[in-house]
Symmetry: C2
């Protein structure tokens, strides 16, 4: 019993005209999650139709490096081939530490148990993975190795909880083209195996019947509104809502002053809005991935991140999203990196940041930058005293990044949001995308606020609240890993869904 | 067109049996918001029925001090009577600073414009307000003055944005009984003016018709399910969801490890769940008020709050909820107060906290508490150097609270969540209640995620997302002020609502 008068993202199935199209499984959105769902639903024997609002598939996954956070089960084939072991329990311990009470235990376990098999599935699409690891601190290797540490594994507190294992899996190619490579291979397979694709199709509403079952969608194709029936299920895989300003104002207002949306232009939250209209619950809506990519180059990690009071606030060797979470908590998000000349090089992913102060002494730098008199000096004095013993008692930066800052000249670089311009950003601010969405079971079935399944409705990718729940514990590979893995589960479940009566 | 199969908090009006009761306006919840709504709806000429799940009215408002954050319009009658002026624009500037991008501009303006009149309305109920101000730092005066600074007005950064004006209005009586006094006066008036009250009535679901209009409720009274029609409107004023563990896990998981629920036992989120079932949107669901009441006594404010790295993180003269917000951001929420003997007295609102270290030198205290060697010493040395000039360059604590900590012995008190037990709490942790709920217009009309009004449905009090949106900017008086003020607006609007056809 849909409520179109209250929410036009749903329409009443009983009032719908003759259908224009039909399939067993209709998938809204042809990015990473949708394509994986489509392929699995097809392989389970379903007749599958994918609707994509853009002129072609790819979504935000195609814009990414296609890093996937994978491991467990003794190791993925790639980990094992280069002599690394990995255990499911170690991976679970790590992921639980990442998200704490915000994590979804069942989802974490299901993912860790299936991640190694998922790698095989992806590789079998024809995506190339080189049996070589790039173990330096980076975001994504620009050489052709396929395995890396994705961020926090070797950093405190994660290194106290779980044995650090590299779990970032990226397609092998020089440069950063993993997402395009993955989506090309995936879409070629999807189409070769008989999934129907309809591009330039804007889904306007779900069709829901008076029992609450989702029976299809209404989409605008070539200027015409079409009723498209789904005899088994509809899967919403239309991305998050980072490009929808009104939704950000409503659900994630805190990030607005300092975040810069990053995603594809159709990350407008349509899938989330349709799911809600059909009675779905939304969770985690305030949380966003926030990038604070002051590195690479890795050697900047020798520097000290400080706030406007000259205080450190995090171990500088953490992953960029964890740094973003903590930078955002500082007053007005004002954050600086103090670095000595021998460690300086411009930050790779930024077109600009601001030189706040330079000098041959910390006092000079501090004065030029206008920090409170003596504050940065006190911070550096304390740090240096312990750095001489290769220790960081306050934040436990790993010993390899700890050395006294005593070789002038020094620079203090402002990475405050108004001062940073990412190459991938349209304006200044920390790059961000949303981590909230429809509450789903691990099968992708959408739940109502009362915890009931909405029959015939699934969601995957950033349309759903997935594995990564907060920037504080995020690491590269968690979004594409989650979207592709749980996209597959949703596809399987949707295909196997009890056929709608009538 | 309700969806009971998906969400049992709503039922289909067309299928409801003969009604047992009816009224023009039916109000679910007889706390501060519900009682104010009832009175205004009645005064607007409506036949009003209030349903209350408990044996009697009062709700969480009766448990509170009934502080209301009021001012503007040249000053409330109380402010003016003791010679204080206040301006609406100054109040708006303050409230905007409180909530930043999370604030609701229209709601803030409407509140600031009407707050002075609201005081007259409350006083006319017979609630006594003494023309006297208690201007020391406190949470609620235990003497009988009725005006106070509620928290952050004199603290940085608010004191740079808006002229500090005391805006906390509390009923006059020695002790802390404001909430009980207010609710007694209010409920006596409500009942004298002809509102019908049904206690022990558990509302189970809304009745919604196929056009989406809310037409009444289903309630369990004396063991019988009753259909209760509302010819004009239903108002949901059933409190927040702090007592509903499952809802906290879903919507506010971050606070679970360190927050201790504070409210009345029926703050179970029923109103929010019903509103969602009828198609209402929810916002701000992750945000909670968090109390970090290390004061009074006020003189503890001379001390320094530090984290487990011995670093300060906030000006200690801020309000307890702002302190709670920032304490929660520290690693594992570990927070300590360093205080010298002459300023020490036990924290008034706590039954226990933990003495982490004592000594005649900071080094001794630091060692006993197990803080990183030298860290607290560095913090105190820096603080003292500037305190000699009555300055706090890092956090701008007001000069009256700044003095060097140089008179041993010293104590370091742990206020980490596991170490604090509030008198009002059932277990250890920071007292908390929820600040998220249904998205409403200033009239209380509930909105769908698509921004459409749900006909016949209103919400007020903590069932709605109201004026206070985050602990960081919260101050005493904002919840009861919001609940009573916007409760009245909802009552007026509901009574004037276009009568349902048919």
């Amino acid at each position: 019993m849909p409520q179109p008068a209250i929410n036009p993202w749903v329409r009443r199935f009983e009032e719908a005209d003759t259908p224009h199209l039909s399939a067993e499984v209709v998938i809204c959105g042809y990015g990473g999650a949708g394509a994986c769902a489509a392929l699995e639903a097809r392989r389970a024997g379903a007749d599958v139709l994918v609707l994509e609002r853009a002129a072609g598939g790819g979504g935000s996954t195609a814009m990414s490096s296609c890093e996937m956070y994978l491991g467990g089960s003794g190791g993925t084939r790639l980990q094992r081939d280069i002599g690394l072991a990995d255990s499911t329990e170690n991976m679970i311990a790590y992921l639980q530490e990442c998200f704490g009470s915000q994590g979804d235990e069942e989802r974490i376990r299901r993912y860790a148990e299936g991640a190694a098999e998922h790698f095989d599935w992806v590789e079998a699409l024809g995506v190339p993975y080189k049996r070589a690891a790039f173990l330096e601190r980076t975001v994504v290797p620009l050489s052709d190795e396929s395995l890396l540490f994705t961020g926090n594994e070797r950093a405190y507190p994660f290194n106290r909880i779980a044995e650090p294992v590299p779990r970032g899996h990226v397609p092998s190619k020089e440069g950063d083209e993993g997402g395009r490579m993955f989506m090309q291979a995936l879409m070629a397979t999807v189409e070769a195996e008989g999934v129907r694709i309809q591009a330039n199709a804007r889904v306007l509403a779900l069709l829901q019947d008076d029992t609450g079952r989702v029976r299809g969608v209404v989409a605008k194709i070539d200027g015409t509104e079409c009723n498209i029936l789904a005899s088994r299920a509809v899967i919403l895989s239309a991305g998050g809502f980072i490009m929808n300003r009104a939704m950000l104002e409503r659900y994630a207002p805190e990030v607005l002053p300092y975040g810069e949306p990053y995603g594809n232009q159709w990350d407008m939250g349509d899938g989330i809005q349709m799911g809600m209209a059909a009675g779905g619950n939304i969770i985690n809506m305030n949380e966003c991935f926030l990038s604070f990519a002051f590195y690479p180059p890795a050697k900047l990690t020798y520097g000290l991140l400080v706030n406007s009071g000259g205080q450190r606030f995090i171990n500088e060797d953490a992953y960029l999203a964890r740094l973003g979470h903590h930078a955002a908590q500082q007053r007005k998000q004002e954050v600086y990196l103090l670095v000595q000349n021998e460690d300086y090089e411009p930050t790779m992913y930024m077109e600009s940041r601001r030189m706040a102060g330079t000098g041959d002494s910390i006092a000079e730098v501090e004065g030029e930058a206008g920090l409170p008199a003596g504050a940065l000096q006190a911070t550096v004095a304390y740090y240096n005293k312990h750095a001489e013993h290769n220790e960081d008692p306050l934040f436990h930066k790993a010993a390899e990044w700890v050395k006294p800052l005593d070789k002038p000249p020094y620079a203090l670089i402002s990475y405050s949001p108004q001062d940073v311009q990412y190459q991938l950003g349209d304006g200044p601010g920390y790059l961000m995308f949303t981590l909230g969405g429809l509450q789903v079971q691990t099968t992708g079935e959408v739940l109502s606020p009362a915890g009931r399944v909405i029959p015939g409705l699934f969601a995957a990718g950033r349309t759903a609240a997935g594995l990564p729940r907060t920037s504080a514990g995020y690491a590269s590979g968690m979004s594409v890993g989650d979207a592709s893995f749980f996209g597959r589960l949703a596809g399987c479940a949707a295909a196997g869904h009890v056929k709608a009566e009538g």
